[in-house]
């Protein structure tokens, strides 16, 4: 159990970093709506349409590290298996 918790914590951190990097390594806040520019040919105006999406940011990484830290921390309270 102790080992399992630490492995899960490690997987969580690695997985979060990999997902964050693959999604563009956004160094800002997590985005759940992405602005898309649309051009109005008649007036030359550039409008903005907000589309649903998910771009993880530093808060996402922070939450993953926090979760991993909790799991790793819990592992110290799990009694070791008697040999």
């Amino acid at each position: 159990m102790k080992r399992t918790l630490r492995i899960v914590a490690g997987v969580l951190i690695v997985g979060a970093i990999a997902f964050w990097a693959a999604a563009g390594a956004n160094r800002g806040w997590t985005k759940t709506h992405i602005p898309k520019k649309i051009m109005d040919e008649a007036t030359g105006l550039e409008g903005i349409q907000w589309q649903g999406g998910f771009v993880p940011g530093v808060d996402f990484l922070g939450a993953a590290f926090l979760g991993a830290g909790v799991l790793a921390g819990l592992s110290f309270f799990v009694p070791a298996k008697p040999k």
Binding site: H33, I38, D40, E41, A42, G44, G47, I48, G57, V58
Partner: protein, 202 residues
Amino acid sequence: MKTKLTMLAFIALTGATLAAPQTFDFKDPKGINNAGFKLDAPLEAINGSASGISGTVTFDPANPAATKGKIIVATTSLMLPNPMQKQHMLSDKWLDAAKFAEISFESKEIKNVKIADDTTTADVTGTFTLKGVSREITVPVKLTYMKDKLGQRVPDQKGDLLVIRSSFTIKRGDFNIMPGQFEDKVSDTIELTLSIAGASPK
């Protein structure tokens, strides 16, 4: 004498028709009209936009200096990419969107009018209202009159378009939006841009 009077009447009537001010409606079913806002913040700039634009402007192509009107932005239409930021922005601590449903600018006076073909640039003084606080501000505006172009924007409709562009800044503290607080996290200066087109159907 009779001919002269008839001619004068004809000229006056033609002049009145050509100089007639038109009312342009800025409600945009296509959702192109938008107002952008930007504030500096430590991690990344807070960049959003609002599409709930409405209001009317009266514009006379023969006398752009007489332009007047009011543009309204629905507070709840303000969008940010991060949901938590958006929730905070609309909450009672910041914009209080539930209580103050509209952000508006109503023109009072136009100065420094410069006309080049169908484009007019000017400084417009008016009342800007945000979170229930009204202040007189002067903003630079560019008006582009597009005669008979409504059909290109809205099929099967005839009429004219009036495009308004403007960029200016305000201080959130001037409008009772957390004055003097969190200025290291959310800038007091807000950059606003307006990119809107109004329609005057015939």
